[in-house]
Symmetry: C2
Subunit: 351 residues, 2 copies
């Protein structure tokens, strides 16, 4: 009889074929120390021959550990979140864990549903970027969580890992200032988003500390997309006030939209208007000029999230907030304010 068509072999089958008991087989397969070399070899041989494959469901049910981790992000198709997911994935499979990935689409109901699914799947924990601060679904999640993004302060009881926005904003603003742009216009995200509030506050504080009135910075807002950024930039240019010479966008996609809007308006970037982004997505390099931006360590956020989660498993209830440094990525979208000619800025090795 060929057993190809039968259901996959269990540990019992292996044990029987190897002439040992279930438990000895189990021990051999999990490379436990206390097994006779002969038994081990025979078990392993049979397992290989029959194509035996551990049933993780049974194992998890019994042992209480599933080796599965949840990841809930706004949108896996968004390059920034995709990068985060990749980092999480790499670190997870380094630990032999599997990742259940969900996109919430910034929808609280979806988020809640996904969290429930994760709970039912009995994942060991989850990494999530909460939709907004109204989401109560997180408060009673009941499983270890590591927050990613700008949510640390909203949920101080949960571990979190994100980029150091304050440091990143300072980096951007200082660099802009060094080029003579002391009052860049701001392209912000939607009001209800945590990330926006945080960005705004950090900019505010930074301005105050430099004796700049934050209220004097022109502001426009929109969704975190190229299209909305393009529109927002259009509105900014249409304003009656003094002409915009530089823009700091809260997100690269919007910044790219801004560059496109400039082209639409017949303005040159960076000669007429400098554009600075925030995120560091690869696509920023495709624009013309290449987008200079404050890069967040997206992939590292993902890997760090997993590390924090697995670590917190060991030392229970030790929440930590990690902030990873941002770094300036210089491409060509910034020029000195005093420049009039079409000179490209190259500050790589300058002071």
């Amino acid at each position: 009889m060929i057993d190809r068509k039968k259901r996959s072999p269990t540990i019992m089958d292996v044990a029987a074929a190897a002439g040992v008991s279930k438990s000895t087989a189990a021990r051999a397969l999990s490379s436990a120390p206390n097994v006779a070399e002969g038994s081990r070899r025979r078990v392993l041989e049979v397992a290989l021959a029959t194509g035996y494959e551990t049933n993780h469901l049974a194992r998890s049910l019994r042992s209480g550990k599933t080796g599965m981790i949840g990841l809930v992000i706004p949108d896996i198709a968004n390059p920034f979140w995709a990068e985060v997911a990749r980092g999480a994935q790499d670190e997870a499979s380094r630990c032999g864990a599997s990742l259940l990935v969900f996109s919430s689409d910034w929808n609280p109901d979806r988020e809640a549903a996904h969290l429930r699914a994760l709970r039912q799947a009995r994942v060991e924990g989850a990494i999530v970027n909460p939709v907004d601060d109204g989401s109560a679904s997180l408060d009673n999640f009941g499983l270890p969580v590591v927050l990613i993004g700008s949510s640390a302060e909203r949920f101080p009881d949960q571990s979190s890992v994100g980029s150091d926005i304050a440091q990143g904003v300072a980096l951007g603003l200082d660099h802009l200032a060094s080029l003579g742009h002391h009052r860049p216009a701001l392209l912000l995200g939607p009001r209800n988003r945590l990330a926006r509030a945080r960005f705004v506050r950090v900019v505010h504080d930074h301005c105050i500390s430099r004796d700049i009135d934050p209220a004097t910075l022109p502001v426009e807002e929109g969704g975190y997309t190229v299209d909305e950024g393009r529109l927002a930039m259009g509105r900014l240019l249409a304003k009656q006030d003094q002409p915009v010479r530089s823009v700091f966008a809260a997100n690269d996609l919007m910044a790219i939209g801004a560059i496109l809007a400039l082209r639409d308006a017949g303005l040159r970037c960076p000669e007429d208007v400098s554009v600075l982004g925030f995120d560091g997505i690869p696509a920023g390099a495709y624009a013309d000029p290449g987008l200079t931006t404050v890069g967040k360590p997206a992939r590292a956020i993902g890997t760090e999230g997993i590390k924090l989660l697995t670590k917190s498993g060991a030392e229970t209830a030790v929440q930590r907030h990690t902030f990873l440094d941002c770094a300036l990525i210089e491409r060509g979208s910034l020029a000195g304010l005093d420049d009039t000619g079409p000179r490209r800025v190259r500050v790589s090795h300058a002071a």
Copy 2:
């Protein structure tokens, strides 16, 4: 006693609290028909009050259905695959299924490891883009599989869904020809990749059928990335032969690299050289000029993959090969061959 800190309630707890037996509780929870209205109500109430949550591990172990599906793609951080993943995700959660996502990085060993993990997790099936045609790990996967990408012919026994490359290539080549570009240069991917062979063959056939000698098309190759595309385009321009006037890249990332290379070389796109991409990633719109490209239905490939997988569960062993249409996405990277001035092509409503 507050039971907050205890482990989560089981169906036994609920049953006890509701004053019924395990099985009645189970029936009520799974909304089976044969339960007294009173019992059902009480069970549901208790379940809600205690925060009972089905243990999927136990359920799956017993019932043999896990409601989990695997997705193995080369790289979740690649915009094309991210889009596919998003489609799969949406469709999966529409069916109440969860997705285990893995990136193989075009590495056969990783692919094999991931497939094994999926098998052990007892997923219902998997959607995978095979690393290469050497990968034997797929042949003895043992679970329902739907292939995505250009792998249908290598594994005729497996269901598959992909874009209709032949149709897409025809679309691109015909459009190019209509602009006077009858012998575009080709920017191809790595030799060992299935997708490349397929692309090449389709171009070949198409040329033959139009009395064009395929061997006369200039060719360069490289990895499917912006950097490698840029390099490959540089090599193409450096060739001694007749000057290149148009390029058909096998992938958008390479095409964007080509546009960048043109800029490097001081050539204008599309006036000096037209560039056509293949994929339809959003980032193509960020380049200057915007990348005209043959768009693949990435998200639909993902959703269709899930549909095929879940369907094949019902009618066992009915493999199907689905080819989804590509569509031309016109942006600004194509110009007529005879054009000399910097005119942008706008064919939207032309014949």
